[in-house]
């Protein structure tokens, strides 16, 4: 039995604005589920429905097999870390963490014991007497985490908790979050619009768009086997290159014809594409699956180098390939050797073919 289960859950706001449309999702115990998608895709609304902060318009929400649609959020055994941390400015860090326990009439020595234990774990012991406004972003984030942890809830909801931090701190806290998840042995449901964050943190990723779940899979799955064009384009940075293509037979294999260029697909891919021969499709290839050559190679396409973005160890090379725009990721040390005109080879096994009409992976 899943820990938390959403069955055909929808949220419709007045004016028939559909925020979440018929969402079904099972979350197992100790999962680290990341809801990811662009702004307005319904990920935060889903989280708030789980928290009990939004009413569910239709569908069912089960916690340990019990329907909890109408259960007040305080009785759901769920703790939440808010995007702006929601630390009460007039209370000290200690009082902020103790607030929930005091409301539940926990004995004072027990409150102190739990706060000390949590503060040690989060390394915020020194901050307990201080007010939130005297803390840095990272410290506030930890205190917010402490307020959730101290309740010893079974499920932690995190609503974009890293979005207010600078890049370096975000990386550090991200690693810490993974550690907390392992230490606490609890279920984490995390909302973010940052696909890198989702890929790093999640054991299960739920990609959403326009209130609809596009794919539920492991980070490896959403990256390497995107279900549709949206997932393929959203997951991965820089994003996947898309080229219009027509599928044709080339002896016993299938080839994708993109304008004047052809790409013969692998036998495994070809096997599943026989019924789509002669149809229009979209070919997707990730920047790291494009190989650049200085000289002509069999099957390689001629391209013109437009812009090179230096990113450190690797660089992004923006190319014009017979009217098609492509972005390739290349080792920075090799970029200097490239002339204005170069040759592009797509790794046949690593390309993705999508139906042109539905956008679904073929």
């Amino acid at each position: 039995m899943p820990k938390l289960s959403l069955t055909n859950v929808s949220k419709i706001y007045p004016g028939d604005i559909v925020a979440v449309d018929n969402l079904s999702l099972d979350i197992e115990e100790r999962d680290f589920v990341v809801l990811v998608g662009p702004s307005g895709c319904g990920k935060s609304t889903t989280l708030r429905m789980i928290a009990g902060l939004e009413e569910i318009t239709s569908g069912d929400l089960f916690l340990d097999g019990r329907r909890i649609n109408d259960l007040p959020s305080k009785d759901r055994d769920i703790a939440m870390v808010f995007q702006n941390y929601a630390l009460y400015p007039h209370m000290s860090v200690y009082d902020n963490i103790a607030f929930g326990l005091k409301l539940r009439k926990t004995a004072k020595p027990e409150i102190k014991r739990r706060i000390d234990e949590t503060a040690r774990m989060l390394e915020i012991d020194q901050l307990l007497p201080r007010k939130p406004k005297t803390l840095s972003g990272g410290q506030r984030q930890r205190v917010a985490m402490g307020r959730a942890i101290v309740r010893k809830a079974n499920i932690f909801l995190l609503d974009e908790p890293l979005s207010n931090l600078d890049a370096a701190l975000r990386d550090q806290i991200r690693t810490e979050l993974i550690g907390f998840h392992q230490k606490l042995d609890a279920t984490f449901i995390y909302v973010t619009h940052d696909q890198t964050e989702a890929m790093t943190l999640g054991s299960k990723i739920v990609v959403m768009d326009e209130g609809v779940v596009q794919q539920v899979d492991s980070p490896f799955g959403v990256y390497n086997r995107p279900y549709n064009l949206f997932v393929a384009g959203f997951i991965g940075s820089p994003k996947m290159n898309f080229l219009p293509a027509r599928l044709e037979q080339n002896r016993e294999l299938v080839q994708a014809v993109c304008g004047a260029h052809c790409l013969t697909l692998s036998p495994e891919q070809s096997a599943g594409l026989q019924e789509y021969l002669g149809k229009e499709a979209t070919l997707g290839v990730r920047p790291e699956n494009i190989v650049l050559y200085r000289e002509e190679k069999p099957g390689a396409w001629l391209a013109r180098k437009e812009i090179v973005e230096m990113r450190g160890a690797d660089s992004l090379v923006h190319l014009d390939c017979g009217g098609f725009k492509l972005t390739a990721r290349q080792e920075s040390s090799l970029c200097g050797e490239l002339a204005e005109d170069c040759w592009v080879s797509l790794e046949g096994r690593q390309v993705h073919i999508f139906d042109k009409q539905s956008g679904i992976r073929l």
Partner: protein, 297 residues
């Protein structure tokens, strides 16, 4: 009125002009206050001499044919005799001061309670017609006092509280201004605070008392000061509703004092001003912050 002066450059002409302008404006605002304080330290004889335009037989002997009121900023002789007269020889003054407090204090506390609770309802609770009702509040707030005095009088008559302080206190307590000010301030509290408290198990009373109230200290102070000063200085409502002169507030009495009490009017005014001025100086920062938070500028 808060004037932000940006220093353009040390000693620049622009800065000097700006400072000169600010100085002149400040002087205009301060002059009545200075005149009142200085005159309160003059003897009754000097006040009478300065402000009486009627000619006496001594004037006629001295050949003076016309007299004008004179505003002097330096007393001939500094004296506290006016204060002595007001506080010890005029028991009516203290009685009327008490009357003013009987109106201003209940209105201040009542308005604060009503404003806080209503603003919480308007901010936190989700209900269908709240925006429409709030708009009605704003419309009522924009109505001038004179426009609502007649309906207030009719309602007070219906409730048989016409010649009672309640006829002034009740409309003051339910004044929309407080609700507006508090709601605007509460809107600045991020909804996540309410939600976090709700998830922690707090009920509405606990959220109101332990989460909202401590964050509104400045706005509460600002509202208290504004309402207190407004009802401390009221004249129209008291003139209309209070028939018995022993029940009238000091503000009404002061406005009439010049008619026959010229000798003590300045000291009485100073004593009258003391309380609101003291509040204002004490809570100036809160007043500024509270008004800033409410977005009312």
């Amino acid at each position: 009125m808060v004037i932000d002066v940006k220093i353009v450059g040390k000693g620049s002409v622009h800065e000097k002009l700006l400072m000169g302008l600010v100085g002149v404006v400040a002087l205009i605002f301060l002059l009545p206050l200075v005149v009142t304080i200085v005159n309160s330290l003059m003897t009754e004889k000097e006040i009478t001499w300065n402000f009486t335009t009627q000619l006496t037989s001594f004037d006629l002997i001295a050949g003076i044919k016309e007299k004008f009121q004179q505003i002097k900023l330096i007393p001939q002789q500094v004296s506290l005799s006016q204060y002595n007269d007001v506080l010890l020889n005029q028991p009516a003054f203290l009685l009327l001061l008490l009357n003013s407090l009987k109106i201003a204090v209940p209105v201040t506390f009542g308005a604060l309670i009503v404003a806080l609770l209503s603003a919480y309802g308007f901010t936190v609770w989700k209900w269908k017609y709240k925006e429409i009702i709030f708009t009605v509040y704003i419309v009522v707030m924009l109505m001038p006092l004179q426009a609502v005095l007649v309906p207030n009088y009719i309602i007070a008559d219906m409730l048989h509280i016409k010649a009672n302080y309640l006829a002034i206190i009740l409309p003051g307590i339910f004044s929309p201004f407080g609700v507006f000010l508090m709601r605007q301030s509460m809107k600045f509290i991020p909804p996540a605070y309410f939600e976090a408290a709700h998830m922690d198990g707090a009920n509405h009373w606990q959220i109101f008392w332990r989460v909202v109230m401590p964050q509104l200290k400045s706005s509460i102070a600002a509202l208290c000061m504004l309402v207190f000063i407004e009802y401390w200085n009221l004249v129209e409502q008291a003139v209309i509703f209070i028939d018995d002169y022993t029940k009238e507030p000091l503000s009404v009495f002061l406005s009439r004092m010049g008619e026959g009490w010229m000798g003590i009017v300045f000291s009485a005014s100073c004593l009258y001003m003391f309380l609101p001025l003291w509040f204002l100086l004490l809570g100036q920062k809160d007043l500024e912050k509270g008004i800033e938070l409410s977005g009312v500028k």
